[in-house]
Structures are given as structure tokens and as C-alpha cells.
Assembly symmetry: C2
Homo-oligomer: 346 residues x 2
């Protein structure tokens, strides 16, 4: 049952305790997710293989970065696993989780960005992460799709796969995390979404508050059931949900690659793809929390910036010609849409 | 005479008043500088012409953006003039100039970034700006050079031209503004300078305090004459200095283009140039005050991002081979050096 923000104070703030082997279980899942995704992508790519760099973090922990370059499908793909610990979380996180102040932290996660060569195959991003710090723990993450020449059926199928995964755990997950994704992957200076969205969430700690997004404090949200609160959930429930989301990636993305990989393309499509990749760079360097946090706190730069495309164009004052597929991307796809209930207007 | 920071409290904080026509005089200079630079660059380029977009800012003011695309020398070059006013300066500036709080502001400036096609010709940046807000006014700006395949003689000549311009106004300007440039155009996450530097300054308001850079509060600077304070200077003195700096750009840069433009290059040099251009993008989107401020305050996005290169590469884990010219860039040129007193080690 969803309650509106106006009565959130009446909800219990009791928090389920993680099991004693929580860190091991989550990091095993995150590593396994990296393995499974890499195996699935190599099969899909047909030519390329991931090369792994293991690294150790001086302050505690480490990771394994895997990159596939110049494959059959993927011009570049990176899949990272990391597990780190240390004394203090950065101020940007402590603002959201003040209970963590003064405590050591543990964090583990898997992240991925794929840049296909064929402009008809969309770029895609995945990230799931888990934190423990003193009395608090939480899960976050999401998956989002960034097409250049989008097809409505692909976008619906992608969203529907994520919705099905969410619905197995709670009927409120998909609508709220879909909204949050549209809000988070948004280029304010361009007034464009990064792509066609997907799902995104953060600070899922079982206390019932689902939405901690940019509009959480906006009066409009107090009137919307879509950003309300749930009954408390256990650590096990949320971990099961995150596993389902991680495992939904290949079924959501693989059919799109299989359908579009054979589509012929030329200079026009390539030029537009390289131009649009510039938006990915702009988002990741200007807005993305993970990227900025990583760079400012001496993370492993090469692993953090593995998300950047191998080749990118900028062009002053580019505007798509009206009536073209490029214009359709801007007019229809780079605005939030209710994809699972999509009805063609024509 | 330079005093150390430790006795700055004893210096007068009296501030010279700007003349009644200050705004008009500075904006005329900034517009004239744009004209002069564009004319000089078209002559140097030989093929390309600048195309102008005039724009109006809803909150007050406007500008003229000029872009040269696909020229003989320049793959892309942008030269912007703007003159804007409004109710409030952004918080990031008010921290440095608290006296401006609650007052309207006026700002005018010219900025430029050039991306040559030949990898032997360096990228270069210029920006000069002037602010008035209530009881305060100040000038800021600088010029810095970013080579891909640098030549020591070019770097020395560039710095010597800027030093000569500075020395005509005060012998302390060049050493302090050269240091500030090395500090400001620095990619912390790469531990690299952006290029071989030049000069950079901000908040020059005549009160004698020259250096307001990132290390101003560091104890080490209190012991260094190089970041001390001067006797107060008048508005006219500082404006004359800024004009000299603006006019020094063509003499500093043109000879380098003329010397290197004919150098032959191939895929190796082009690939390295595109890769290194990625650093320019990283700096401008992660660190550059003007870019971030502009994007976050509804500036004209296309004019702000005109500084981004037309084509860019990222490559995971790239390392130059030891003993190559690419390695020399990292080992010698992307570290602060005393260029005007440079002695070859060999």
C-alpha cells in the first residue's frame, strides 16, 4: 500500500538487520553478476573477449575491471566489479545518510557501459551497489538504455522486461523507479533525458521510503501516490529484488542487439551516433554521482572513465532536420514517456 | 614590492573607483579583442571564416558567438563575446566576493578555444572578463597552451611573450600568474597539467592581493614571496594590463602555428591528438569554473560548449611507449616547469 509523503512521519522507521554474512553474500552476487554479464556479452559479440585488470585500493579493497575492445558488436564495453572499505563516507553521501557519520563503511558493486558500433544498437548502462556504514545499510542502482535510432518495440520490450522483474517484488517498484530514472538521467543544460530510461533507485534500506530522488522535497510530490512509501521490507527482500534486477539485464538487452545488429548503416548514422555520444560524456562528467565521487576521491581513474565512448564528436549548433529519424529521437524518445502503456499516435 | 601573506592585514584595502564609463570602455575593448583575434585567425587559417550567432539573454544582456569550422589550419575555433547583467551573482562567486551579495551585477568578457587539425600545432585557450557588483569590481582571465607534440622553443617563446607583456606592468605579475595557471589548469584525477600553461588570474580589484588561487590558504604560501601582495593599483592600471594581455595572444601563438603547420603527420599523431583532446573535455566539464557555472545557470549551452573539440577519443589504460615523443609530453611538458629559464638537461 502506498501512502503519500504528507503522512510519512507516521510510518515506522524500524530497519531490518542484515544477516551476519551480508557482505560476503552481496559481493559474491556482484562478482557472479559481472561473470554472467561478461559471458553473455562475449557470446552476443561473437568476436571480442574481455580483458581483465585486477587492482588493489590502498585505503582498503580493490576490484576487477574488464574491457572488451573492437568486438563484432561492441566498439567498447566495460564491466567493473569493486569491493572497497574505509574510514569515512564522503560528505555527499553523509548528507543523505547522516547516521553513517563517524563510522567506517563497506561498499561493493558492479557497473557496466556498452558502446556498440552499429548506430542502430543502443548504448546501455547498468549499476548495482550495496553499502554498509555503522547502523545503516542500503542498496542502489539501475539500468538505462540510450538509443541513437530507436524503435518503439525495442523500448517497450526493454521497459516491460524491467517492469516484470520489479513486479515480482512489489507493484510500486517499477512506476517509482522508472520515474526516478527519467529524473536522474537528465541533462538539465540540454533539457533532454539521456535516453529512454529504465529504472533507477538509491538508499533502499527497508524502512519503506522508496523515493529519495531530486523532487523528493517538491510540494508536487506530496500530492502524488507515485512517490509514496511502503510498509517496511527486510534486507532479504531487497537483496532478492536487486538480484532480480541484475539478472534482468541480459533478457532486456540481448533481443534488441539481435534484432538491430544486422541493420545497415553509413556515414550519416555513424556521424549522428558519434555526436549523440557527446551527451553521454556530458552526463557522466557533469552530473553522474558515481563518476564525480570516484574522480574526486582518488578512485581508479581508468576504471571510472571506462564508461566514456571510444570516439565522440561535438558540433556547434547542430539541429536535426525536421521529419528525419534524428528529429524523432529528440521529439519523442528524449522525453519521459509511459513506455509500457505506449499507444502509437498515428 | 612584494610582501608575504603573513602581513597582509597591514596592507591598505582601499579600492580604486572605476571611471563612470567603465562598463562601456571594457565591453568595447572585449568586442574589439574578439574582432582583432578573429581577423588575425582568419588570416592565419587562410581558408576558413568565422560564422556569427548573436544571442540575447532573457535575464539581461547577450553576446555574439563566432565559430570557424573545417578551416585550413583550424578544425574548429570558437571566439565568444558576451555582456550580461542581472540581479544576483551565483553563490560560488559570492563566497569569494561577499561584498557583492544583495547587489546586481554586470559582467563582460571574451573567450576563445582553438582546435587545430595538425597535431603539431597546439590547442590554445584565452579568456578575459570583467565584473562589477555593488561596491566591488574585478578583472580575471588568462591564456594557456596545450600542445600534443610540443617543441621547447615554442613553449619558451609563448611564455616569454606573456612575460614581456606582464613585465611592462609589474615584475610580480608573470611569476604569480604563471604559477596560478599551472595550479588552475590541473587535472587532479590524472595528476597532469592540462598543457604547458601560460598565465591565469582572477579577482584583480586593485587592493594589492594578487593571488586568490587554490593554495592561497595553504601554510606553504605564507612563506613564499611569489604569492605575496602588492601596493594598491588603480582601475586604470589593471585595465591597461588586461588589454596588454589580450593583445599579446596573437604574437604569442601565431609564430607557433607558422612554424608547425607544415609538419607532416599521420595516423599515429592524429590518434594521439584525439586521445589527448579527451583531457580537454575532462578538464572543461569537471573543473572549469566558467563552463560549470554557465551550464548550471542556464547560459547558452552551445556557446559554452563551443570549447569542446570536434572529434575526441578515449582509450582504456593507454600508456605512451617509453622513449617516444608521446612519452616526452607526459614526462616533461605536463608538469609545471620554469619555461622562461629553461635549460636543456642534455
Amino acid at each position: 500500500m502506498v501512502k503519500s509523503f504528507s503522512d510519512k512521519k507516521s510510518l515506522s522507521s524500524s530497519r531490518s538487520l542484515p544477516p551476519s554474512d551480508s557482505r560476503q553474500r552481496v559481493s559474491e552476487f556482484m562478482k557472479g553478476l559481472q561473470d554472467k554479464i561478461c559471458a553473455g556479452l562475449e557470446e552476443l559479440d561473437g568476436e571480442g573477449n574481455f580483458q581483465e585488470d585486477s587492482w588493489v585500493r590502498e585505503e582498503g579493497g580493490g576490484g576487477r575491471s574488464r574491457v572488451l575492445k573492437a568486438g563484432g558488436v561492441f566498439e567498447q564495453g566495460g564491466v567493473n566489479f569493486s569491493e572497497v572499505w574505509g574510514k569515512d563516507l564522503p560528505p555527499s553521501i553523509l548528507v543523505q545518510r547522516p547516521e553513517a557519520a563517524g563510522h567506517g563503511f563497506y561498499a561493493t558493486g558492479t557497473s557496466m557501459v556498452l558502446h556498440p558500433r552499429n548506430p542502430y544498437v543502443p548504448t546501455v548502462h547498468l549499476n548495482y551497489r550495496y553499502f554498509e556504514a555503522g547502523p545503516v545499510w542500503w542498496f542502489g542502482g539501475g539500468i538505462d538504455l540510450t538509443p541513437y535510432y530507436p524503435f518503439v518495440e525495442d523500448v517497450i520490450q526493454f521497459h516491460q522486461t524491467l517492469k516484470t522483474a520489479c513486479d515480482r517484488h512489489h507493484s510500486e517498484y517499477y512506476p517509482i523507479f522508472k520515474l526516478w530514472c527519467d529524473e536522474y538521467f537528465y541533462l538539465k543544460h540540454r533539457q533532454e533525458t539521456r535516453g529512454v530510461g529504465g529504472i533507477f533507485f538509491d538508499y533502499q534500506d527497508g524502512t519503506g521510503k522508496l523515493y529519495h530522488g531530486p523532487l523528493a522535497e517538491s510540494p508536487a510530490h506530496g500530492q502524488s501516490d507515485a512517490v509514496g512509501e511502503l510498509e517496511p521490507r527486510t534486507w532479504e527482500q531487497i537483496f532478492a529484488f536487486v538480484q532480480e534486477c541484475g539478472n534482468a539485464f541480459l533478457p532486456a538487452y540481448r533481443p534488441i542487439v539481435e534484432r538491430r545488429q544486422g541493420t545497415e548503416w553509413g556515414d550519416r548514422e555513424r556521424n549522428f551516433q558519434l555526436y549523440r555520444r557527446g551527451r553521454y560524456v556530458e552526463f557522466n562528467l557533469i552530473y553522474d554521482r558515481g563518476t564525480i565521487f570516484g574522480l574526486q576521491t582518488n578512485g581508479r581513474t581508468e576504471s571510472i572513465l571506462m564508461s566514456l565512448p571510444p570516439l565522440v564528436r561535438w558540433e556547434y549548433s547542430y539541429q536535426p532536420e525536421p521529419g528525419t529519424p534524428e528529429a524523432a529521437l529528440y521529439e519523442t524518445f528524449l522525453k519521459p514517456q509511459d513506455w509500457v502503456n505506449w499507444q502509437a499516435n498515428s
